[in-house]
Structure formats: C-alpha cells, structure tokens
Amino acid sequence: MVKELERAGIPTTHVCTVVPISMTVGANRIVPAVAIPHPLGNPGLDPGDERKARKELVRTALEALAMPVQGQTVLKH
C-alpha cells in the first residue's frame, strides 16, 4: 500500500515494527515502531509518557514526509 501511495505521488511514511518487511514491500520512508501489537504505544509506560513517546514517533514520521529522499530511507527517532 505504501508503495502504491508513493507511486501516485503522495509521500507516505511507513511506521512499522518489522523494518525488513517494509524494505521488501518497497516503502521509501520508513520509521521503526515500538512493537507489533502496539506500533505507536508502549503499555509499559504511564499514559502521559506513552503519549509523549507516540508524539515523538509521529514527529519523526512527519519529518520523513518533509524530507527529500533518494531511495529507501529508514529514519531513527
């Protein structure tokens, strides 16, 4: 899906846990997530900290959207 959206000219960040799968799928903007059942959450944190961490992840995803990339790029956060 990420590839088709990018093919249509819409920059798309893939936030996902298993980065190698995202690479084979052909995503160009990849942000590694927390865990498979909660990619943008961490039940081990208290709710305030969890939300803060989620916001940081989303900020990184936004950065990827505003960044020119040449090929498949993985952004660490």
């Binding site: 893939h14 846990t17 298993v18 799968i21 052909g26 990619p39 943008l40 959207l65």
Partner: protein, 350 residues
C-alpha cells in the same frame, strides 16, 4: 537409533502448541522430539530420519528482536547437532515467514547444513531469505498443510541421502537464485527457436532464464510546508469503529474501510477496536491510538505543526492479505486523497 538422520524442526508459538497471538511474545525454547507438524513430518520419514527436537519461538518475539532471536534459536538448534533443519511451513504468515527465513540463514551460514521449509509465494520471508533454504511452494493458509509436509519431507530425505535435486520447478520449491550448469541434448539456438515458434503460435513454453522482477517506486517529492498540509492516516492494523461495520476480514482482507474523523479527538476503546486477527488485540483495543495515532495528530494540528488531519481515515487488515488486493485498495485511496487535496500519508502497520 544409530544411522538415522537427525532433524530439528523450527515452529512458531501457534504450531508449537504454546498458544495463539497472546503468546506471540514467548522467547525461544526447545522440546525433545517432534511437536505438531513435526510429528506429521517424522511420520513421512518412514524411519529414515528422526526429529530429535522441536525449537519454538513466538513470532512477535522473533520479529521484534530479529538479531538476538536468530542467535538464540541457532544456539538451541546447534545443541542437537542436526543433519538438516526444517522450518515452518509458514504459508502466507509474514512474521512466521521472516522467522523461518532468518533461522534458515543462520543455520546455513553457521552450521552449514541444509534447510527445508515451506511458504506461499507472496510471503515476505521469501523475498528476504529465499537463497538460504529449500522452501516448497505452499497454499496461502494452513489448509495446505498436508501437501506442504508431503513435499517438505520428500525434499528433506533427498537432501539427507545426498541425492541430486532436479530444478526448483520440478521439485516444487521456490528458486534460490542459484545457477547450475547442466548439459542438454540440444543446443541453445535450437531450444531458443523452439520457444520462439511456440510463442508465435500462442503455445506454452518455459523460459530457461526468467527475468528478475524489481518493482521499486521512485520516492515522491516531499511536502514543502507541513504547517499548511492536509495529512491522512491509513493503517493495515485493522482499526475500525466498534462492531466492525464493514465486516473487514480478520485475515486475507478483501476490502478496506473509510471512517470519518470529524469531531474525533482521540480513539477510545468505547468507539474503536481492531479487526486484525494476526496480533494480540489487547493493547490496540485498550487504546486504538497505539495503532492509529489520532490523539497526537490532533495535538500537532492544534499546535500548527501540521495544517490539518484529513477528515477520514482508511483501514484494512494486512494479515495474509494478497498483494493484488493491497495494491487495489491503495490505488483507490490514493485517487480519493489526491482529489481531496491530501498532500501526504502516515501509514501504520502492525
């Protein structure tokens, strides 16, 4: 038992009879003898080989700790000094396929014994690890178990006996990207002309050199000014309004849903849930923002970091869903987004 070949079988938590998605986090462990599909495999060996141990690891644990899990599983496997290692079959289960492939890679690199497995042709594990094992072609789901075990056991016995394998097509496994020199009765020019004639006549022919297929997309240009952009949220993690009004399937999805975000500031368990059948839903159901981050996107919208969150989100279930379906969903979605002035997408996957 002397003289019998030693086989170790790798399975995930489900086939290893530890549990479902709620047990996907269990780390690697070994059980003596055959468990689950390994029992069926051993029966097919007809006394010529023995499954000395079954090594089991949760798919979640393996994929979230790829390097570490690969090492840990290898250590367990090598303790049983196998002559051959069997993995899966993983069918079209992506995480299981990746785990099977990674185990195959470690075994082949470090132990130097052959690996036999099974996967459906679209399994991402195959893209990543095809060269490291003889992965037989399987159906998409566990309905293909009997046939898969049959083919895997046949290949395993051939390899254990040191017999030559025929081509991947004839043996029924996925090509490993290895070229082998063979002698033909007839020279290349004659074979090529025959193929050409068959092609011109509209008859079937099998190429001797399939062209590799790379489908990479040039990155889309970036968003100039996020603070003025409308950004959409899309997920393959199955977040839907409670009750799953469009009845999106828990695996092998045939459709996606489009849901309004007007007036929605936060996804709560009262209003939303996941329809996805391929991961433990407890965390997503307790707080769906953990998969589709509406709460912080709204916050960033209020702060002016982004212009606007698009008024709909799109959701499907990525679990075993065919590439063809996923492509079609995204093409529909892309058209709608472009017609509505959406400049960028954040797509989340579980």
């Amino acid at each position: 038992m002397a003289g019998k070949h030693r086989v170790v079988h790798y399975l995930n938590q489900f086939f290893g009879q530890i549990g479902g998605e709620e047990k996907a986090n269990v780390g690697p462990r070994a059980r003596p003898g055959a468990v689950g599909p390994a029992t069926a495999l051993e029966a097919k060996f007809d006394g010529q080989a023995e499954v000395v141990a079954t090594v089991i690891c949760g798919d979640g644990y393996f994929n979230e700790n790829l390097d570490r899990a690969q090492g840990e599983v290898l250590e367990l496997i090598s303790g049983f000094a196998p002559d051959l290692v069997v993995v899966g079959p993983a069918f079209n289960a992506g995480r299981y396929g990746v785990a099977c492939g990674a185990v195959a890679q470690a075994v082949m690199d470090k132990l130097g014994v052959p690996v036999v497995g099974g996967m459906y042709t679209e399994n991402p594990g195959l893209d990543l690890y095809a060269p490291y094992g003889y992965f037989v072609r399987t159906r998409e789901s566990v309905a293909g178990m009997r046939q898969a075990i049959e083919n895997m056991s046949r290949l395993a016995l051939k390899l254990l006996d040191g017999r030559d394998l025929a081509s991947p097509g004839e043996e029924g496994y996925h090509p490993r990207g290895i070229r082998k020199n063979v002698f033909f009765e007839r020279r290349a020019a004659a074979r090529a002309v025959e193929m050409l004639v068959a092609k011109l006549r509209g008859q079937e022919f099998a190429t001797e050199f399939p062209m590799p297929h790379f489908d990479r997309v040039k990155p889309a240009p970036p968003v100039d000014d996020l603070s003025r952009a409308t950004i959409a949220l899309v997920t393959s993690g199955g977040i839907v309004p409670r009750g799953n009004p469009d009845r999106i399937e828990s695996s092998s999805a045939s459709r996606y849903g489009r849901y309004s975000l007007d007036g929605v500031d936060d996804l709560t368990s009262a209003g939303y849930e996941t329809a996805h059948g391929g991961y433990d839903p407890v965390y997503a159901n307790a707080d769906p923002d953990r998969v589709l981050p509406v709460d912080v996107m709204r916050e960033l919208e209020r702060e002016g970091v982004i212009g606007k969150v698009y008024s709909y989100f799109y959701s499907t279930v990525g679990n075993g869903t065919s590439v063809a379906n996923a492509r079609a969903f995204a093409q529909d979605i892309a058209e709608e987004l472009r017609n509505n002035g959406v400049l960028a997408v954040i797509l989340t996957s579980t």
